[in-house]
C-alpha cells in the first residue's frame, strides 16, 4: 500500500490529504474471507505463510495487520498480480474474518493500456496526414504511376494440374488503397478495446482467485 499508514478502522489512503473513495477500485482489491474463530491471528497468518513467503517478498507487521511487498514476483507466484497488500483479522460476535486490502500495479497498467493504443492509432492518423501533405508525396505518387506495368504471372504446370487458382493481374487493383496512407489506426483501436476487456476480466478473475487461495490456505494445516 502506498502512502501513510493507518489503523484498521481507518485504512490509510493512497496519499496524505487525498481521498480516493471510488477511483482506487481500479487498482485496489478489498474483501474478506471467513475464518475459523478458534484460530488465533498467529495460527491464521502461519497458514498464509506459503502464499506470502516466496523469494523476494518482504513481510512486516503494521499494527495488528500483516503487510507484504513483492517487488518482482515470479510468474507463478500465487499473488503475482497483487504486489503489495495488508491482511488482518476482524472479529464480530462469535465469527471472524480475514480482511485484505491489496494493490495491483498490473491491474492499473492494464487499465491504462487502452490509452497507449489509442495514442498509437492517433499517431497513425497524424503521420498519414503529415505524409500526404508533404511535397514528396506527390512526387512519389507520380513516380509510382510511371512504374513499368508488372507482368501477369503464370502458375507452374504442376500447380495448374493440381488446380490452384490463377494469380491475379497485379496491375489491376492498384487504385484501391491509394488514399489510405502508410499506417492504419485500426489495430490501435482494436487493441484499446482488447485491453479494456482484459482489464475487466482481470479485475473480476484476480480477486476471485485471491479469495479462493486465501480460503484454501486458511482451511489447510499450518505451514511448518
Amino acid at each position: 500500500m502506498s502512502g501513510a499508514s493507518g489503523t484498521l478502522s481507518a485504512p490509510r489512503t493512497a496519499m496524505v490529504g487525498l481521498s480516493l473513495p471510488l477511483i482506487d477500485h481500479i487498482w485496489r482489491v478489498r474483501g474478506a474471507v471467513p475464518i475459523d474463530p478458534a484460530l488465533s491471528p498467529e495460527e491464521a497468518f502461519a497458514r498464509l505463510d506459503p502464499l506470502l513467503r516466496t523469494p523476494g517478498t518482504v513481510l512486516s507487521t503494521d499494527g495488528e495487520a500483516l503487510a507484504y511487498d513483492k517487488p518482482n514476483p515470479s510468474a507463478q507466484d500465487k499473488l503475482a498480480t497483487f504486489t503489495r497488500g495488508r491482511l488482518w483479522i476482524e472479529r464480530a460476535g462469535s465469527g471472524a474474518v480475514l480482511r485484505f486490502d491489496l494493490f495491483s500495479q498490473a491491474l492499473l497498467m492494464c487499465f491504462l493500456a487502452p490509452l497507449l493504443f489509442l495514442g498509437f492509432a492517433q499517431a497513425a492518423i497524424a503521420i498519414n496526414a503529415w505524409e500526404a501533405a508533404s511535397p514528396e508525396a506527390a512526387e512519389k505518387a507520380a513516380k509510382k504511376d510511371a512504374d513499368k506495368a508488372k507482368p501477369v504471372r503464370k502458375l507452374n504446370p504442376v500447380d495448374e494440374f493440381l488446380g490452384a487458382p490463377v494469380p491475379e493481374d497485379p496491375s489491376k487493383k492498384k487504385d484501391e488503397k491509394k488514399d489510405k496512407g502508410r499506417h492504419s489506426p485500426d489495430e490501435g483501436y482494436f487493441l484499446a478495446g482488447f485491453f479494456a476487456l482484459v482489464y475487466l476480466a482481470g479485475r473480476w478473475l484476480e480477486p476471485f482467485l485471491v479469495r479462493r487461495r486465501l480460503r484454501a490456505a486458511l482451511a489447510g494445516p499450518p505451514a511448518t
Partner: protein, 335 residues
C-alpha cells in the same frame, strides 16, 4: 550437476536439461487424447497448406491470414489449458496480459517503425540504388517449392541473426530480455526488447520475387510450425517432424537456465539448419530463464539493452583510461 556430453559440449551442468528423445515426457491419457496430441501438428500443417493452396484469390489475402491467426491463437490457448506440458508454465492472467502487451506493441508501434527502416524499406533502397532486378524466375517454380524456399531463406537469416545475438555482446544486449522469460506460452515469442524484435524480423527474402500466394503458404508453414517454439502443450511429436522442424522441446532447451544449452537450437522453424551447422541439441527443459529465473518486467525489458550497454561502455572506458578503480561486475553474455 554432471550434465550430458553432446558433441564437444556438456549440456545441463548448470541447470537440469533432459537430453535425448528417449528421455522426454509423453502425453498422458486415453487413446483419443494420445491420438489428438500425436497428429495435431501435422494435421494442422496440412490443413493450412491445403487452405492457402486452394483458397480463391478474394479469400487468399493478408486480412484472412490475420483472422485465422487470431482464431488459431485462441485454439492453442485452449490446448495449453487442456494438456499443459508443465504445470509450472501455466498461463496466468498477469502473464497473458503482459505477453499480449508485447504482441500489441508489435502490431502497432513496431510495425509503424518497421515500415521506414525494416527489411522491406532497406531492400527497396538497395534495389533503387543499384538498379537490381529481383530474382524473378522464382515465380515459375511450383507454389509449394516457392513457399518452402521463402520459409527456409527467412529462417536461414533468422538462424544467423539469432546465433550472432548469442555470440556478440552488443547484439546479445538486445536479445537478453527475451531470455528472462521463465515459461513458454504461445505469445512469449513476442516478449523482448523492440530493438531485438526489429532485428530478428530482418530478412533477405525480399530480394526474391515470389507469387503472393507463395508468401501466404510460407506464412501458413510459420504459423503451424514455428508457433510451437513457445507453447506449453505436451505433444507426442512424430520423429520425422522433430527431425526437420523446430519444436517446443528444442526451444525449451534453448531457453534453459543452463548456459551451454542456450547456445543451441537457434532456428525458428527449420531445426534442420541447426543440424546442418552443428548447434542442434535434442531434448527438453523445464527450468527456464536467467539469473536463476528472475522475471523481467516490461519497464526493464524496454531499457535493458541501453542501460547495460551504457554500464558496459562506462566500465570499458574506465579500464582503458587507466582508472583502475573497482569496476562494477558486468553482465556476461550468459545466454
Amino acid at each position: 550437476m554432471a550434465g550430458v556430453q553432446v558433441g564437444k559440449r556438456i549440456i545441463g551442468a548448470d541447470a537440469p536439461v533432459t537430453v535425448g528423445w528417449e528421455n522426454i515426457g509423453r502425453v498422458e491419457g486415453g487413446p483419443i487424447k494420445q491420438f489428438v496430441f500425436t497428429y495435431f501438428q501435422p494435421a494442422m500443417l496440412l490443413l493450412a497448406i491445403g487452405f492457402w493452396y486452394y483458397a480463391p484469390n478474394w479469400l487468399a489475402v493478408a486480412s484472412t491470414a490475420i483472422a485465422i491467426r487470431l482464431g488459431w491463437t485462441v485454439l492453442l490457448l485452449v490446448l495449453e489449458w487442456v494438456n499443459p506440458r508443465y504445470s509450472s508454465w501455466q498461463l496466468t492472467w498477469k502473464e497473458f496480459a503482459t505477453d499480449a502487451f508485447y504482441v500489441a506493441l508489435g502490431m502497432t508501434f513496431l510495425r509503424m517503425v518497421d515500415s521506414y527502416v525494416g527489411d522491406g524499406a532497406i531492400i527497396a533502397a538497395v534495389q533503387d540504388a543499384f538498379d537490381w532486378d529481383k530474382f524473378s524466375w522464382f515465380t515459375g517454380l511450383p507454389l509449394l517449392v516457392q513457399a518452402v524456399l521463402i520459409s527456409m531463406i527467412f529462417d536461414f537469416g533468422q538462424y544467423w541473426m539469432h546465433r550472432a545475438m548469442h555470440n556478440w555482446y552488443p547484439l546479445w544486449l538486445t536479445h537478453a530480455p527475451h531470455h528472462y522469460i521463465t515459461q513458454l506460452n504461445i505469445n512469449k515469442g513476442a516478449v523482448g526488447n523492440p530493438v531485438e524484435l526489429f532485428l530478428i524480423g530482418l530478412g533477405i527474402g525480399g530480394f526474391f520475387d515470389f507469387l503472393p500466394r507463395a508468401f501466404l503458404l510460407a506464412g501458413a508453414i510459420g504459423m503451424t510450425v514455428g508457433i510451437y517454439q513457445h507453447i506449453n502443450v505436451r505433444f507426442n511429436t512424430p520423429r520425422w517432424w522433430r527431425y526437420i522442424f523446430n519444436t517446443t522441446e528444442h526451444h525449451s532447451v534453448h531457453h534453459s537456465q543452463d548456459y551451454e544449452a542456450t547456445r543451441s537450437n537457434y532456428s525458428g522453424t527449420w531445426i534442420i539448419w541447426d543440424r546442418i551447422f552443428g548447434t542442434c541439441v535434442d531434448g527438453e527443459a523445464e527450468l527456464l530463464g536467467m539469473e536463476g529465473g528472475r522475471r523481467m518486467d516490461i519497464g526493464e525489458t524496454m531499457v535493458f539493452p541501453f542501460r547495460e550497454g551504457w554500464r558496459s561502455t562506462k566500465a570499458a572506458l574506465s579500464r582503458r583510461l587507466g582508472g583502475g578503480a573497482a569496476v562494477q561486475p558486468q553482465l556476461e553474455p550468459a545466454e
